[in-house]
């Protein structure tokens, strides 16, 4: 497992796709958040302000960090989902999958190592995003964090982590479908289905909707109605995805 981890970590560190996808979140989420809030405050009756209004909870740090959590629930899924699809699917597209056969490192270990380095990458991206968000808030004169702001920050962290877990099965889909583009197709389908399920009212019982709903994407009332068991759903979804990828790795043939 150690060799598989070392190899997968090196590939992820050197590649362009994870850097671009990570930077998009690290810089994009704070920029969109501060931009939305600034636009809403500058012109409260503008089209943008009216659209942003349902996402705004409280003011100051609480408003900013709540919105960071909401945007993370979409941005991390898209970003980590694309990277997960690439990490698993590129072996098939580049033809390197054959090199992972007939070696003493088990293929299931390689599949698990890919998931672990994806998680490490995602945590780093999440921490950097929150650091930039806090720096942006401080630069705008938000002052110190009170207990409500700290709770909003903790919620954003958890939303980001849960969403990161939900991205792992996208990699499994790319692995099973033998390419990153089919994996990205599955990712887009998941985003659409999540929207439909949320609109239909099933909301938090659908794992891909739970973190976003809890972050406040459907408003404060729906957020408070999310149950702990619903928030825990991404864990078995991620574990199931990684186990399926590992199982498939041992059984799949090179085509």
């Amino acid at each position: 497992m150690r060799a598989a981890l070392a190899v997968e970590a090196l590939k992820l560190r050197r590649a362009t796709a994870p850097r671009v996808a990570g930077l998009a979140v690290v810089l994009g989420v704070p920029a969109v958040t501060t931009g939305f809030i600034a636009a809403a405050e500058a012109a409260p009756t503008s089209q943008l302000a009216l659209k942003v209004a349902p996402m705004l909870v409280g003011d100051g740090w609480v408003a900013q960090l709540s919105m960071v959590g909401q945007i993370l629930s979409v941005a991390v899924l898209l970003s980590a989902g694309v990277v997960a699809a690439w990490v698993y699917g590129r072996e098939h597209v580049d033809g390197t999958i054959g090199g992972l056969y007939a070696v003493p490192v088990r293929r299931r270990d390689v599949a698990v190592a890919k998931a672990l380095v994806l998680l490490a990458w995602g945590v780093l991206v999440l921490l950097a995003t929150l650091a930039v968000s806090l720096a942006a808030g401080a630069a705008l004169g938000q002052g110190g964090l009170d207990s409500a702001a700290t709770a909003a920050l903790a919620r954003a962290v958890l939303v980001g982590l849960l969403t990161l877990l939900l991205a792992l099965p996208v990699g499994t889909a790319a692995h099973l479908l033998r390419g990153y583009l089919p994996g990205i197709g599955v990712l887009l389908a998941v985003v659409v289905v999540t929207q439909v399920v949320t609109v239909a009212g099933a909301g938090a019982w659908f794992p891909y909707a739970a973190p976003g709903t809890w972050a406040g994407m459907g408003g404060p009332e729906l957020a408070e109605a999310v149950l702990p068991v619903q928030l825990a759903l991404p864990v078995p979804v991620a574990l199931g995805g990684v186990m399926l990828a590992a199982w498939w790795s041992e059984r799949a043939e090179v085509r």
């Binding site: 060799a3 090199g99 003493p104």
Partner: protein
């Protein structure tokens, strides 16, 4: 009775892809210290056979076996993972990642083949030197020519000095100097006692390195060629034509002959 020096074996190996029979009831052995070449036209079943031997594909019937550390020939589907540490292979696509340098790629291959962190570095440097890749050692493999990527793939297959090498058209895309380098390394490996299975379209090249030449056609072994025999091309085509039911195969005429007259 299987000879003790047989390292790799196919016994009645059969594999189809839908209605297409790629390999049928095929027997083949590769012994320690020999270079066994398989030659055949495109689609003859060479790559499929190699994938069956390496466990990348499963046989529909028959088995493919590798000698494990305990000295037994074991079905590759039931082989202990550790036993694969003595195998190096390059089948179709070189093991190269565009974002990694040549040295990083070969080090990764070394780790995946079971070398420790401490051993992977020196072993990588050594095989990179042996395959005349020093100049490109720090270059990303995505920027290399096809021939040099092929050489990196060979370095990845040979970095751990395996006891069995399975190489699918190893001199593909190489320039004449590269062919010489790879030929030397293959013969060195066999000289150290490694069993080597190579496939090739190039009969002249095969004749220079092989101890045995097996001809594959439409998924069957149709004969063997003597490596030191005269006019291998003629003998090869005679064997291939003979394997056709009506003795006819639609091949292009040899354009070299009219120019010589």
């Amino acid at each position: 009775m299987i000879a003790q020096d047989v390292v790799l074996e196919a016994r009645g190996a059969t594999r189809s892809f839908g209605p297409e029979v790629a390999v049928e009831d095929l027997d083949l052995t590769v012994r320690a210290g020999e270079v066994h070449a398989i030659v055949g036209l495109n689609g003859a079943g060479k790559t499929t056979l190699m994938r069956l031997l390496l466990g990348m594909l499963r046989c529909d019937s028959g088995t493919t076996c590798l000698r494990d550390g305990g000295g037994e020939l074991v079905d590759v589907r039931h082989l202990r993972p550790r036993a694969w540490a003595s195998v190096g292979h390059l089948v179709e696509t070189p093991f190269t990642y565009a974002e990694l340098t040549v040295l990083e790629t070969v080090r990764c291959a070394a780790r995946l083949h079971g070398l420790t962190v401490a051993d992977a570095g020196p072993a990588s440097q050594e095989i990179i030197g042996a395959l005349a890749l020093d100049h490109w050692s720090g270059r990303r493999t995505g920027t290399l020519s096809l021939g040099n990527r092929q050489r990196v793939g060979l370095a990845s297959a040979m970095v751990h000095r395996p006891g069995l090498l399975v190489l699918d058209e190893p001199s593909n895309a190489l320039d004449p100097a590269g062919v010489l380098v790879v030929r030397r390394e293959i013969l060195n490996a066999a000289g150290r006692g490694a069993a080597v299975l190579v496939s090739s379209h190039h009969l002249d090249e095969v004749a220079r390195i092989a101890d045995r030449i097996t001809v594959l056609h439409r998924g069957h072994v149709v004969g063997t060629l003597p490596p030191d025999g005269a006019d291998l091309e003629r003998a090869f085509f005679a064997m291939v034509y003979g394997a056709e039911a009506d003795g006819h195969l639609d091949l292009p005429a040899d354009p070299a002959r009219p120019r010589r007259t």
